[in-house]
């Protein structure tokens, strides 16, 4: 289900075959730019990155949230908002966000809901580490997963949305 408030934000000129700054109107001869998408399945704890050319990469991920938080990520489709980095100590394999920062998406009634990694060798209060380590709402992936997101973001098919399912 895609709700109207959660549609991916597509920049002007994107996907229409004619970037806005070229002034071209003949879309038949223009290159088609595609967006990458992320999917998180809470039942299989898997994050899937589908690149614009159809290439699919899958990574383990978790969404174990603290009992005092706003809870797990809701099911639905949410547009990409921004990326944050936090310095060497926080953005490292054992840091709270992993090596590649936090990729944040707009989730209604929530804030700063992102996909990040971290806590590879550090246990949480329940003894879990890696992707299973607790968060306050964010999906925790592996460094490989967030590196792949970063690669997509730096290319001509950036991630524009994430779809979450089986997560309630």
């Amino acid at each position: 289900m895609t709700r109207s408030g959660e549609l991916p934000r597509i920049p002007d000129g994107w996907l229409d075959g004619a970037p806005a700054d070229t002034g071209r109107t003949d879309s038949s001869s223009a290159p088609v730019q595609m967006a990458s998408t992320l999917d998180y399945d809470g039942a299989t704890n898997q994050l899937t990155l589908t690149r614009g050319d159809g290439t699919v990469q899958q990574f383990p991920a978790g969404n174990n949230t603290d009992s005092r938080s706003g809870g797990r990520w809701p099911n639905g489709t949410f547009r990409y908002e921004r990326h944050t980095t936090h310095g060497e100590e926080d953005d490292s394999p054992n840091g709270k966000y992993g090596s590649h920062g936090n990729y944040i998406f707009t989730v209604p009634s929530r804030e700063d809901m992102g996909v990040h990694s971290g806590r590879v060798d550090r246990r949480d209060g329940a003894g879990r580490s890696g992707v299973d380590h607790a968060t306050f709402g964010c999906i925790r992936a592996t460094d490989e997963g967030t590196a792949a997101i970063g690669d997509a973001m730096a290319s001509d098919d950036p991630v524009t949305r994430i779809s979450v399912r089986n997560n309630r």
């Binding site: 926080d90 929530r110 804030e111 700063d112 949480d124």
Partner: protein, 149 residues
Amino acid sequence: MRSLAAVAVGILVFSGMAVAQEFRGPPWFSAERCSREDAIAADKGIGQLKSWAALHRAFRLYRQCDDGGIAEAYSDAVAILLTEHWSEVPALAKFARTNPEFERFVLLHINSLMSPEQGKTIVDNAHNRCPAGIKQLCGRLEAKAKHPL
């Protein structure tokens, strides 16, 4: 007609209660009051959360954004301050006296994101190294650290 209206009002009230009960996050969090600018500023300040004064300032300015990655930073800061900077706990006591909601914020962020080792250290600090005059606060910190889940 009147009974139909009463039923409709009842359904609305009931569904409103259900929605209100669904969100379990911190009571000071409000997605409506946390603007995009607030969230970005809160994110940018994460690296500065190395003292109770800095955390108290973040709480005063950005408590409405206490969710997701920002909240994870607050939990990490609380755990580090109570384990690696225990000697500074009188500063926490001072802020908690003037702002009781800040104490509730700190207690909420003693949670499952901290490691078992951090939990044990907080219990040990609060039980064996509590400065004079703040025994009650130490008792509450110890109780929360014993049951972080």
